[in-house]
Each structure stands twice: as C-alpha cells, then as structure tokens.
C-alpha cells in the first residue's frame, strides 16, 4: 500500500515538474512587470514601468485572443535572488507569459536564467548590460530601450571626435560599471583617444571628493562617470564643488531624466549624454508623455517609454501570430518592425537586440528652461545601425 502511495506521489510530482518546466500556451496572455518599486532605481523603472505597461495594454484594447490581458507586478528589491524566485513562481505556477520591466543588469541576469529555460519571453527595458545579446543571449530575450554600447557610441564617440582625447573614468565597482568602462574604452581607442586613468568607487558612495581630486591630477580632458542614479549626481556635485568642471569636461555616461532633474542646472548645464528617448522630441512623444505624466506624476524616463513600446509590440505579435506560444510570438516580433512614438527606425534583430535611433542631448542651463521638465536640448540623432553592437554569429537566432 505504502509503495503504491509513494509511486503515485512520485508520478504526480514528476508530472507536475514536466508540465511546469516549459510554459504551456493557454491562449490567455498574462504579463508580469518585475521592477524596483521602492529602491534606488524606483524612479527609473519602478511603478512607472507598471503604469506604462498598463497604458500599452489599454491602448491595445485590453484583450487578445478573445481573453482579457492580465497584468501582475512585483518588487525585485534589486536583489537577484528575490527576483529569480518571483520569476520562477510566475512562470511555473501563475501562468505568466512574459516578464517586463527588469531594471539592474544583475537582477535581469538572474531572471533570464529562469525564463530562458522555461521558454518565457523577457522584455528587458531598464537594464544596461550588453551581455543579454552577446555572451548571455537567448532566443527568448528582447532587449529594448538602450545598452552600454549605445551609450558609449553616443556620448563617448562624439566627445572624442570633438577633440577630447584624454579620458579618466570614475566607475561604479560592479558588473554594470565595469561593462560600461570597458565598452567606452574600446570606443575611445578606436577613435584615437586614450585612457589616462580610472578609479573604481563602490556602489552607493556618497562622497566623491577623493575621486574628483584624483581625476583632477590626471591631466585628462574628460572625466567620464561610468555609474548611475544618485552616484552620478553626487559625483557631478563634487566635481563642480572642487572646481574640476572649470578645467575638464564631465560626461555622465548613463543619465535618466529623473537624475538630470536632480542635478543642479548650474553645474550640469552643457553636459552631453545619450538617451533612448526624450519626452519633448516631437508631437508624438509629447502626446504620450502628457498622458503618462497625468497618471504617474512625472515625465517618463526612457525605461518607461521602452516598457510601453515593448509591451505593445509583444501584444501586436501575439495577435498576428494567433497564439501566445513563445517561439511563434518571438518569430512574429522579429518579423515586423516596431513602430510607435518611441521606436524610430526600429527593428528587433535576430539576436534579440531592439535597435532604434538614439539621441545625443545636452543639459540646458537654467535660463533656457521653460519649466522643470524642460531639461534637454537635442544635439544629434544617432542612427539605429550606428548606435548598437553588431550581431555576433552565436546569437543569431533566425531560424
């Protein structure tokens, strides 16, 4: 009797495991937004990414394949282990089809390890690392919005070409900062510049004066901040305070609109940066951003706009494919070009990289700002095919 029970149990468990290992298409689309709801990056892709995804679902009509589209959300707390557990729960038990949001490359790396195996599509809209379409690529990843290569090809290349040849890096001491510094160094050398020094500051450093002093004595033309969020703002403040900005240029390599708004215009004015989106670019961006601002209370960051664009493109693909089966949906996503207020000259490549026109912008001085949201002047549009890393053969998933 006991053995029978045991066998029954084993069979049941085995059965459960077998069905849960790979997501079964059930004809109902359920989207999960996993983002930083209350931490350092909450303004970049947190509740705002939920709002943007919600807007995309509403604009799409609220239902697909004859069923209403469901939205679930969770806080990654910027912890890879927490995010990984949530992702597993979502795809194995809660029938979530696709996971969006995904800010912080460490979190995204942990989540994609789960979803790549379970064959669930991830719509990465907040992370910077280029590894998701190179060494950690997968047929189930769609990396939207930006990456470190696009940042370097925008800001770094334009500055080197304008004659700023000597560079010093203040780098956030974790995977994202290292990747950004490496890629940027490559771009500097390709264009005839050199790196005269670098210093690695731990994440969450409050006082950058020591690093600013080291940068000052390096004799560089440009001090590049390969960090993000409050680190960038604090580093820039220290640079201005210690008089570094009088003799050298400071380049913020990753700046989101909320960060730019947090900077003192007197010190940040004239700083160039690369972004995937700016709300005040044209009629289409303004119209969407106004709707977003009414619901969210702040202008959209590029990650917010990217979350909308990616969700809409995903839903269109589900509709066109007539199924939520991930391989068919991804094939459809790559076959049609995303086109909305965010995606300009865009294409989701076979390696999962969504390439689109990027913007090189300059922070406006206080005198030129009409209101608190009027922060950038667009200098140049960087064409999609120049901005991003070329596709590598191992990641070509076109079948």
């Amino acid at each position: 009797m006991k053995t029978l029970q045991q066998r029954l149990l084993t069979t049941l468990i085995a059965g459960a495991l077998a069905t849960s290992a790979v997501a079964a298409p059930d004809g109902k689309v359920k989207i999960g937004v996993l983002a930083d709801m209350g931490g350092t990056y909450a303004d970049l892709c947190g509740p705002g990414c939920v709002t943007a995804t919600q807007m995309a679902i509403e604009d799409f009509g609220g239902q697909v394949l004859g069923s209403p589209i469901e939205l679930v959300t969770a806080d990654s707390q910027l912890k890879p282990d927490v995010a990984s557990a949530i992702a597993r729960q979502w795809v194995e038990s809660d029938n979530v089809d696709t996971i969006g949001g995904l800010v912080s490359s460490a979190v995204t790396g942990a989540v994609t390890q789960v979803t790549n195996t379970s064959k669930n599509i991830t719509l990465i809209t907040g992370s910077a690392s280029n590894s998701f379409t190179t060494k950690a690529c997968s047929p189930y990843i769609a990396h939207w919005t930006y990456n470190v290569v696009a940042l370097a090809n925008g800001t770094v290349k334009s500055l080197v070409k304008s004659g700023k040849k000597k560079w010093f890096f203040i780098t956030a001491d974790y995977a994202f900062g290292h990747a950004l510094e490496n890629v940027s160094t490559g771009v500097i050398k390709e264009n005839g510049g050199e790196v005269v020094g670098s210093v690695r500051a731990p994440l969450g450093t409050t006082d950058f004066s020591s690093y600013v002093l080291q940068a000052q004595s390096s004799g560089a033309d440009v001090v590049a901040l390969a960090n993000a969020g409050n680190d960038t703002v604090n580093a820039l403040n220290a640079a201005a305070e210690f008089g570094l900005t009088q003799s050298m240029d400071v380049a913020g390599l990753l700046v989101f609109t909320p960060n730019a708004q947090a900077m003192d215009p007197a010190t940040a004015a004239g700083m160039r940066l690369t972004t995937g989106f700016y709300w005040d670019m044209d009629e289409k961006t303004r119209a969407w951003s106004k709707r977003f601002e009414e619901r969210h209370g702040a202008i959209p960051s590029m990650a917010h706009a990217g979350a909308y664009s990616a969700t809409l493109h995903y839903l269109n693909a589900v509709k066109a494919a007539g199924t939520d089966e991930p391989d068919a949906v991804m094939k459809q996503m790559k076959a049609t070009k995303p086109e909305d207020f965010f995606a300009r000259n865009a294409q989701l490549r076979a390696d999962g990289r969504m390439v689109h026109d990027m913007l090189l912008v300059e922070i406006k001085p206080a005198a030129e700002r009409k209101n608190k949201n009027d922060i950038y002047k667009i200098i140049e549009v960087i064409p999609a095919d120049e901005a991003y890393n070329p596709m590598i053969a191992e990641c070509n998933f076109s079948s």
Binding site: A201, T205, S209, Y211, N230, A238, G243
Partner: protein, 295 residues
C-alpha cells in the same frame, strides 16, 4: 623623478585634507548617536532617517516657505529635535524597561516607514539644494582647491563638537545627565526630573542629526536613502570610539575620515569596508572601544 615624487606628495596632502573634512562630518554625525546610544543606551536606528529628514526639511523649507540656508541651520535642528522628543515621549518611553533590542526594532521600523513615505512623495532620484551664495567658490591651496563650503563644514563641526563635549563633560547639566544614566533612581531621589532629562537629551541627539542633514544638503544629493547609507558607518564609528565616550566618538570620526580618505587613494575598492575592518580589529583587542570604559 623628484617632480614625480612632489606630485604624489601633493596628491597625498589633498587626500589627507579631504579625509579630515569627511572626518569632521562623520564626527558631527556620530556625536548625536554617541549621546543617544552611549549615554541613554537607546539603539536609535532612526538616526539616519532624522539626518535625511533634516536635509529634506531644509529643502522643502526653502521651496515652500522661503527659509534660506542660514535660518534653516537654526530652525531645522529645532524641528527635527521636536520630532525626536515626540518619538521618545510617545514611543520609546513605553519600551524603556525592555531589552535594548526592542528600541532597535522600533526605531528601525520608524526609519523604514519614514524612508518609504519620502520615496513615495519625492521619488528615489534625489533633489538638489544650492550652496548658499556666501559660501560659493573656494581657495586655491598649493596642493588642491579647497571649496569654501567644505571649510565651513570643518568650522561648524569643530564648534558643535567642542561645545557639546564641554556641555556634557564640564557643566552641571552634563553632570546630571551622566549621573542619570549611571543611576537614575538615586538622581531622582535628589529631586531631579530624570525622565525630562532623558527626553531632552534624546531630542538634542536627534537635533544634531537634523543639523548634519542641513549641512549635507548642499553637497550630497538629497534623497530618501541618504540616511540608511551612512547610518551603519556612523554606528561603527561610535562602537570603535567606545560606548559613552563623547570625545571618543569625535576623535574616531576624524580618524576614520582620514583612514577612509587614504583608502580611497590607495585602494578605492575597499573604501566602504575599511571602517568595519578597523572595527573588527579594535573590538578584538579592546572590546569596550578605543576610549570606552570596561563595563
């Protein structure tokens, strides 16, 4: 080769001075905690949140009430101190006779709530507060450019630290306070209102955090998590300095600033850990801290 050596020596002087500036800021921050933690034996995990509150109060006061930096320097510590007094009177007082861990849990919860509320209201990206006009600019020293505001931080910190130390160690009020923490019942028998002294001391300690917040606002990004980032370091400084030693906290604050500054120059990757390394070593050899008395 000689000139190269000169440059390095100059760079080192710069780093030492920066270490002293940061150290005086640490001293200011750890002073309040040393009073609350060292004298009252209350583990106040909300001290970082009070520092954050001070910075936000200065910013909001300027935006909505037109209070400038100089008035904020006086008004904000009073307001934050009042928050501390209410906190002590209505919350911490109720668990005064319980294990110390209860005050830790209570104040940690309060800190999380405050941080959550501020993140909800103002976002996580931080806001900027301008340096007051009178303190803009700086002085060119032979080895570095010293911003006036940083010199001002040293000045305020030295005045406040010495003043507080003198008040607690040399005045009658300070003597009551020290006696009250040693033996409250006995002091009460002499007709001194000990609970009132405790409340006011707690309020004063918290007010110091508010002052540090105002001092920090023009140089660091004003953000909801600015307090939680710095709190643990400041706790470590108080532990290294020795429980109950005001002078110990001040000197350790200065010393740790210099050590951290040198680490940032020679091996920046370890700059956030070096203070804890010192703490481990000190606790191994002197469990009561550098200036603490053995219990």
């Amino acid at each position: 080769m000689a000139s190269l050596f000169d440059i390095n020596l100059f760079a080192l002087f710069g780093q030492l001075l920066i270490g002293l500036i940061n150290g005086s800021f640490y001293a200011l921050l750890s002073l309040g905690l040393a009073i609350i933690f060292g004298l009252l034996k209350i583990i106040n995990f909300a001290q970082g949140a009070m520092y954050m509150l001070g910075a936000f109060a200065a910013l909001l006061g300027m935006q909505y009430l037109g209070i400038n930096y100089w008035f904020a320097l006086i008004l904000v510590p009073l307001a934050v101190g009042l928050v501390g007094i209410l906190m002590e009177r209505f919350l911490i007082r109720r668990i005064a006779n319980e294990d110390h861990l209860y005050s830790l849990l209570l104040t940690f919860g309060l800190a999380l709530m405050l941080q959550g509320i501020f993140t909800h209201l103002f976002g996580s990206s931080g806001l900027s507060y301008p340096i007051p006009d009178a303190l803009k600019g700086g002085t060119k020293l032979p080895f570095m450019y010293l911003p006036n505001y940083r010199a001002w931080i040293i000045l305020v910190s030295v005045v406040v630290c010495i003043g507080t130390w003198w008040m607690i160690e040399k005045t009658k009020l300070g003597a009551y306070l020290r006696a009250g923490t040693e033996n409250p019942q006995l002091l009460q028998a002499f007709g001194i209102n000990v609970p009132l002294i405790v409340t006011l001391t707690f309020g004063f300690g918290v007010a110091l955090a508010g002052l540090a917040g105002v001092m920090a606002a023009p140089v660091y990004s004003v953000s909801p998590d600015m307090g939680s980032n710095i709190l643990i370091v400041v706790f470590a400084i108080v532990v290294i300095g020795g429980m109950g030693s005001i002078g110990g906290a001040i000197l350790t604050g200065l010393g740790m600033g210099v050590i951290e500054g040198l680490t940032k120059y020679f091996y920046p990757e370890a700059s956030t850990t070096v203070i804890f390394l010192v703490m481990v070593i000190v606790l191994l050899f002197k469990p009561a801290g550098l200036f603490g008395k053995e219990a």
